[in-house]
């Protein structure tokens, strides 16, 4: 019973640099249902941030350049919205929180004003009312003594508290979509768990749809109903979290799962995927994962695989799915993840 609130169709995005064209995003299609959490996972530099920042048009163009593709928000094609039109959407319809809470708040402006300026931009209310709203929001994200917090500067808060403030800024105008770009990467483990918990709670309460970017599969397990696995500017596999975790079909996904520590694992050494992601200046012919793939076949280095549809919207781009390829059992998650929350049934 869900509706697509956001859809990206075959998005291509490049950077024109002196050294040449960096093809950061090379044909990405994904969608976000109302009220769900979608996780985008993948190694550093695979284009996760560029993808979501392109949706909000936060990537400076130039050097960035939208080559082709469509972005549809609430049934409206926003691909070619001007900056002026985007300003109306940002903050009120879609928001973003960033990786590093230490640098994403203005050091010389009080927390309170950093929250109210967004409200005042989007809503026609008095500064006093806005202040009231900001204080309520600070309380909601778990800032003790929010009246006092309102008057503080960012450096007077710890990293975790600052990320809470960022969440308050992002959600104060009650947007439909929240992009959380590695919101916990810069935080310690306990704080990570608290922040994820907070995002989950507020998402329920405010009925926000969330896109969470991470390279930590533990985060996926805690938050997301669906996952998109990105590699070198493309989505190689996407589906329900439990399908991705227990029945991965792409060797890259399987490799990511294998390189993830699990509770109670003692004797087994952690495996990692050998090699590094390809150069986005000149992406290789064929499947971009082929040079690192354990199951690489001749065809893989020649032609890019087509996307294959499996059950529950599970999609994978890999030649192993081809009927002519030798059947392989890819290792997935054996044990249940200790931190895993019950996954919702169906889409």
């Amino acid at each position: 019973m869900s509706r697509k609130i956001l859809e990206i169709k075959d998005l291509h995005f490049s950077f024109d640099t002196y050294a040449g064209e960096v093809q950061a995003v090379r044909g990405i299609s994904l969608y976000l249902n109302k009220g769900e959490t979608l996780a985008i996972v993948g190694e550093s530099g695979c284009g996760k941030s560029v993808t979501v920042q392109t949706v909000m048009k936060l990537v400076p163009t130039p050097p960035g350049r939208l080559k082709s593709g469509k972005i549809i928000y609430c049934g409206e094609d926003i691909t070619h919205y001007s900056q002026k039109e985007m300003q109306k959407l940002r903050g009120s319809e879609m928001s973003m929180i960033f990786q590093d809470p230490m640098t994403s708040l203005n050091p010389t402006m009080r927390i309170g004003r950093q929250i109210t300026e967004g409200i005042l931009k989007h809503e026609n209310i008095s500064p006093d009312k806005a202040k009231q709203r900001a204080i309520e929001m600070l309380a909601k994200v778990g800032i003790a003594n929010p009246e006092k917090g309102f008057k503080r500067y960012p450096h007077q808060f710890s990293g975790g508290m600052r990320q809470r403030v960022m969440i308050a800024i992002a959600l104060v105008c009650n947007p439909n979509v929240l992009f959380a770009d590695e919101p916990t990467t810069a935080l310690d483990v306990t704080t990570q768990a608290q922040i994820l918990e907070l995002i989950n709670e507020l998402k329920q309460e405010l009925e926000t749809s969330v896109v969470i970017i991470t390279h930590d599969l533990g985060v996926v397990a805690r938050t997301a109903e669906r996952v998109a696995v990105m590699y070198a500017g493309k989505i190689v596999e996407t589906g329900l979290s439990r399908d991705i975790f227990y029945k991965p079909k792409h060797p890259y996904t399987s490799g990511l799962l294998e390189s993830m520590p699990s509770a109670g694992q003692v004797e087994k050494t952690l495996t990692s995927i050998k090699g590094t992601p390809p150069d986005l200046f000149a992406p290789p012919k064929g499947c971009s994962f082929a040079p690192r793939c354990k199951y690489c076949m001749n065809i893989c280095t020649q032609t890019d695989p087509d996307e294959v549809q499996l059950e529950n919207g599970h999609k994978v781009s890999c030649w192993l799915m081809n009927p002519q390829a030798e059947k392989r059992e890819l290792p997935g998650r054996k044990s249940r993840l200790s931190t895993q929350k019950p996954l919702k049934e169906g889409i």
Binding site: R90, G91, T103, P107, M109, K121, H155
Partner: protein, 306 residues
């Protein structure tokens, strides 16, 4: 806060003392004596002058005498201007230099910062190029060329303003402009770089993600943060500008303090050089102290760390 100010005061006094001591002994290592250059004096007369000013005493004794006078704020007699104390010379010439300096700063600061902001906002556009060209011209053309150029155009050709001297308000315009141009160029350059630096910061992206307009982002998020490096250079800049500029004062025949810095050294006027150095030192230390307080106003991280 009181503790902080006391600490700063003690450090300042030590700094000034070190400055005075080092200058004192360095000056005496220069070859020759203050009276040598005056050709009319015989060697015998030179020696009489030396003993009149106490310069024939042992060096350490001279040093202690000087320090004792210095503690009372007494810089002593100039060795070149007969019967004039260094204090009285500073008193009569410093106000002129300070006035010229303040006028130039009043012109250069707002314009320089505004140009810096404008060119950073329109990076790569025509306005940016114009500002960069102005900045490069201002930095690379020496003020004696700029000064004479202004004199030639506005005083000699157009006959709009007096060529030189320091009498009426009209006299102040050309030297003010000549000095302001180079200050403005520096300020524009630093402000532009600083604004561009701030543009790359994550919190600017946050501001954009809130839906704020570009104008709003510049004024409430960028400018204040971009001012921090400007404040750093403002202390030394204000101090040096108020102390007078030798070249401008020479070209425009302005009776300021700047010329004495150069003349006293070439003439080995020990007391004058010492007096000016210590005066400059005190001024610079004070300027930096004020800047540090301003820092706290702009940047809350520094304010609370004290």
């Amino acid at each position: 806060m009181v503790r902080y100010i006391l600490k700063r005061l003690v450090i300042s006094i030590i700094t000034i003392w070190l400055l005075a001591t080092v200058t004192f002994f360095l000056l005496r290592t220069l070859p020759g004596n203050p009276f040598q250059t005056e050709k009319l004096l015989t060697v015998e007369m030179q020696e009489r002058m030396m003993s009149y000013y106490g310069l024939d005493r042992p060096l350490m004794e001279q040093y202690f005498t000087y320090m004792k006078n210095l503690l009372q704020g007494n810089f002593g007699y100039s060795l070149k201007y007969t019967n004039r104390t260094v204090n009285s010379i500073i008193k009569s010439t410093f106000p002129v230099s300070a006035e010229l300096g303040l006028r130039s700063l009043a012109v250069a600061l707002p314009i320089g910062l505004a140009l810096g902001v404008a060119s950073a906002r329109k990076r790569g556009k025509i306005i940016d190029y114009i500002c960069v060209v102005i900045a490069v011209i201002g930095v690379s053309i020496p003020s004696f060329i700029m000064g004479t150029f202004l004199q030639y155009i506005f005083a000699i050709k157009l006959k709009l303003l007096p060529v030189s001297q320091w009498k009426t308000a009209a006299h102040t315009i050309l030297p003010t402009v000549a000095l302001a141009l180079s200050l403005m160029a520096t300020l524009t350059r630093v402000m532009r770089a600083s604004m561009l630096e701030v543009t790359m910061q994550d919190y600017i992206k946050t501001a954009r993600a809130k839906g704020l307009g570009e104008g709003r982002i510049t004024w409430s998020h960028q400018v204040r943060n971009a001012m921090i490096p400007i404040l750093t250079m403002l202390g030394p800049m204000v101090a040096s500008v108020l102390m007078g500029t030798f070249v401008i004062e020479k070209i425009f025949a302005i009776p300021g303090l700047g010329q004495h810095f150069v003349n006293s050294i070439t003439g080995l006027d020990y007391t004058m050089t010492m007096g000016l150095t210590v005066f400059y030192g005190i001024f610079l230390v004070t300027a930096n102290f004020i800047v540090d307080i301003l820092y706290g106003l702009v940047d809350p991280r520094i304010r609370l760390a004290k």
